[in-house]
């Protein structure tokens, strides 16, 4: 797996400190590192958020040891403050920032291309084309970082992170460096951006590293120009774009008939190689995953070296500016540039369109027996009991965000109403009204309150890991600025959505050592919250009552719905389910069980049922069934 390859590269590079916060598609980098850290003698941790992780790794690099921080695309947004400032003094030990982007937003709230952050910060970015390069580049990134005394960015994407291939391993470097500290190392006040000569002079130093970086990238093996004869067309392909382009060229039988520049450093570009290509051909197609970073730079360069060459890519519309690319997309773009007509089997396309109608959507759901199903059910009941008109339920990031994924099969007509609108909810998956980023909901709810919204209760939900990651300052702000509303914390004591990583509520560290357990309600109390209730979401009655009281409370209220993640409970054998008995003669077909949203609940021939292969015996559906058609033994 690409993430394992990056981890291996870090191990081969002699990493001493690695810190991360989970985020798909990058989580397995740290999972892999944490698995071997005690044995290999380096420090690996899940920090409370990406910013802390970045600082932990940066601090290590200041003492001259090698460090790595890894995160998903959105995680990088959290570190920008430190990132943009750290580069002014650079680092002493190799510092690698490994980021997993997610074109097509398979697991993310956006498609942002983080290579631009490397460009923005004026540091080199390495972009692998496959798993082997992911490993080799990460290893080399430490050396490059020490050569330039700057952090080095490794930009991966879902199709590298979560794709697998055979990788040839290298030797593991044993550096055994003693951490040292020298505050005036090569530059006065090196690690203190305000120390004389101050930020502007440090910016000048940073900028001065760029020409050196440009020279170095010309020599790296991952930038390679193949130019034979006098081809009219040139391809510039960065990262995985090169892998797609090679297959596309083979498919179109254009192997060796075009000039091919494979890019491994989208910033800084190997400008000499690009210049040679621009001077040799009439037309250039730029292939890259994400936004047109290479294309923009190539166009700027062409203005100086060959104004006549035509450059196409995402900017020109030769390739779609959104979504991900693949071999088919790249082949289509190359064919167009080369004037090759791809024939389309019309009958087959018609058949495909017809058959596609048969393919029912499969909306994402919570797990069978997930404790969040209980929390959402109780929230819905409590809102009904207090006579909520148009509540605003602000979502957040975690398994429970599926409470806002909707039902794909349900057609929604956009509204143009000028007043608040109440919508029917058939399932927990239609509960959340807003959702953006980690910790965003509890901030938004305060703005909605201060705006004077009173057409219904204002609620925010978040999970335990999210609470520690990004909610605490917002909770303090709510108390301090007198916001009112309910903050429902769904605490399953694991960072579950990203594949079950431990966090401050879990009781273990990344490497499996026992750790202090921090409780959400203790932190909330310390933040000045006066209404705090903790409930078990498997007890629907108690959870509904607590939420109802919180909704009626005239202030900022927190309800903690705590139960160990159902998958963890099963793995740890801490939960033995009951056997569900279905008496269909008692079923009236009211579908309340279906509206619980559990994937194990079925509905056939107007009767509810339970799929015994999926059911984990939590008996939430028994509590929901009003007729006794569902029983538990």
């Amino acid at each position: 797996m690409g993430n394992e390859a990056i981890a291996r590269g870090a191990i081969e590079g002699g990493v001493k400190v690695a810190a991360s916060y989970p985020g798909t598609p990058a989580s397995e980098i740290m999972e892999t590192l944490a698995g071997v850290a005690p044995k290999l003698g380096f420090h690996a941790e899940w920090s409370t958020n990406e910013k802390v992780a970045f600082e932990v790794a940066a601090g290590a690099a200041l003492t001259g040891v090698r460090a790595l921080t890894s995160m998903k695309n959105a995680g990088l947004n959290w570190v920008m403050d430190m990132f943009m400032t750290l580069v002014y003094g650079g680092v002493r030990g190799g510092f690698v920032i490994a980021v997993g982007d997610d074109p097509d937003a398979h697991y993310s709230s956006n498609e942002q291309d983080t290579r631009f952050a490397a460009f923005y910060a004026e540091i080199p970015c390495l972009e692998p084309a496959d798993q082997q390069e992911a490993k080799d580049m990460t290893r080399h990134a430490f050396e490059l970082s020490e050569q330039l005394e700057l952090p080095v960015f490794v930009r991966s994407i879902t199709r590298i992170c979560h794709a697998s291939g055979d990788v040839e391993l290298g030797a593991i470097q044993k550096l055994d460096r003693k951490p040292v500290f020298d505050k005036h190392w090569k530059i006065p006040y090196r690690w203190n951006v305000y120390g004389p000569p101050g930020p502007v002079e440090k910016h000048r130093w940073l900028h001065g590293q760029l020409p050196i970086a440009k020279k170095v990238v010309e020599t790296l093996p991952w930038n390679k120009l193949e130019l034979r004869g006098k081809p009219k067309i040139g391809i510039i392909a960065s990262g995985i774009g090169a892998s797609y382009a090679r297959e596309a060229l083979r498919k179109l039988k254009l192997d060796g008939k075009v000039a091919f520049l494979k890019i491994g450093t989208p910033t800084p570009l190997p400008e000499k190689m690009v210049t040679r290509l621009l001077k040799a051909v009439k037309k250039v197609l730029v292939i890259e995953e994400g936004d047109p970073l290479v294309e923009l730079q190539t166009k700027a360069l062409a203005k100086d070296v060959n104004c006549d060459v035509e450059i196409v890519g995402k900017l020109s519309g030769a390739m779609a500016p959104v979504g991900e690319i693949n071999t088919d997309v790249v082949a289509g773009a190359i064919a167009k540039v080369a004037g090759i007509k791809l024939t389309e089997d019309k009958a087959r396309e018609l058949a495909r369109a017809e058959i596609s109608k048969l393919v029912a959507p499969r909306s994402s759901t919570l797990c069978p027996g997930c404790q969040h199903l209980g929390s959402y059910w109780a929230l819905k009941q409590a809102l009904r009991k207090v006579g909520a008109n148009v509540p605003i339920i602000n979502g957040d990031i975690g398994c429970y965000e599926q409470g806002g994924y909707g039902i794909a099969g349900k057609v929604i007509k956009p509204s143009t109403s000028t007043v608040s609108v109440r919508y029917s909810i058939d399932s927990p998956y239609e509960t959340l009204d807003t959702n953006y980023i980690m910790g965003g909901g509890v901030g938004l709810m305060q703005g909605e309150f201060h705006a004077g919204y009173r057409d219904g209760p204002i609620v925010a939900v978040a999970g335990d890991s999210t609470f520690f990651h990004a909610c605490i300052p917002a909770v303090i702000s709510a108390v301090y600025n007198k916001a009112k509303g309910l903050f429902l914390v769904m605490d399953n004591s694991w960072t579950a959505m990203t594949g079950h990583q431990p966090n401050p509520t879990t009781g273990v560290t990344a490497t499996g050592e026992p750790a202090k357990v921090l409780r959400v309600e203790d932190i909330a109390k310390a933040c000045g919250v006066e209404f705090i209730k903790t409930v078990d979401p498997f007890d629907l009655k108690a959870t509904t009552t607590a939420i109802e009281e919180a909704l009626k409370y005239d202030g900022f209220a927190i309800v903690v719905a705590r139960r160990l993640c159902t998958l963890q409970a099963q793995r740890q054998k801490k939960f033995v389910g009951k056997r569900m008995i279905v008496d269909q003669s008692k079923c009236t077909g009211c579908k309340l069980c279906v509206s619980l949203g559990c994937p194990a609940v079925t509905f056939k021939n107007n009767k509810g049922g339970v799929d015994p292969l999926l059911c984990n015996g939590c008996a939430l559906c028994v509590q929901v069934c009003p007729t006794g058609a569902l029983r538990a033994e």
Binding site: Y244, V359, S427, K591
Partner: protein
């Protein structure tokens, strides 16, 4: 054939990713170049999952091309159809479990689940072949319903379309399942193998 393109489709929690890694590991052990690309959406359990396994000397991209799958191995029929309609090559094979995992969209009455008959007709219309087996029942027969993915791997081996030896595949299965379940998984593999060979 110099290249084999396989897609293993299913629902999160059924073990399609493990199955794809078993095939890939076996292929590498038999000296073949392999790439695996995974798509598991935002969800863990209950979401649509597809793993692309590409075996061949010149394979570099992790994803199978449109109309490029020689085999779609489906642990769930709807997921088989979802991938076949996009990826199944003319003359390709959809090898599918018949046990349905009904999506929430169907349960709440917002979509209809296609019949096995309509899936068969659709595959034929695409110029493909279809083999159906009740792998879920066979897994229960093997002693553990969670061995369903291994039943399907056995069935895949039984088609003879994989450039990997059955012995290597079995060995890699043994190494990749929990030690306590090795016997059940071996029974599952054989049941799948025989179901297709018959």
């Amino acid at each position: 054939m110099s290249e084999t393109n396989l897609i293993i489709a299913g629902v999160g929690g059924q073990g399609s990713i493990l199955a794809s890694h078993i095939v890939a590991t076996a292929a590498i052990r038999d000296g073949l170049r392999t790439r695996v690309g995974e798509t598991f959406g935002a969800a863990m359990r209950g979401g649509a999952v597809a793993s692309h396994v590409r075996i061949g000397k010149e394979v570099s991209a992790p994803l199978v091309q449109k109309d490029g799958a020689d085999i779609v191995l489906a642990l769930e029929p709807l997921e088989g159809l979802r991938n076949a309609v996009k990826f199944l090559a003319k003359g390709g094979l959809l090898l599918t479990n018949t046990h349905a995992w009904i999506p929430t969209d169907v349960n709440v009455g917002r979509a209809e689940y296609p019949s096995m008959d309509s899936i068969t007709k659709a595959v034929e219309k695409l110029g493909g072949k279809i083999i159906t087996i009740d792998a879920t029942s066979l897994a229960q027969q093997a002693g553990n319903v969670r061995t369903m993915n291994i039943v399907m791997l056995g069935a895949l081996a039984g088609t003879g379309k994989l450039p990997v030896s059955i012995e290597t595949l079995k060995q890699v299965v043994k190494e990749n399942v929990p030690p306590k379940t090795v016997d059940a998984n071996m029974r599952a593999f054989e049941l799948g193998l025989n179901a297709v060979k018959q």
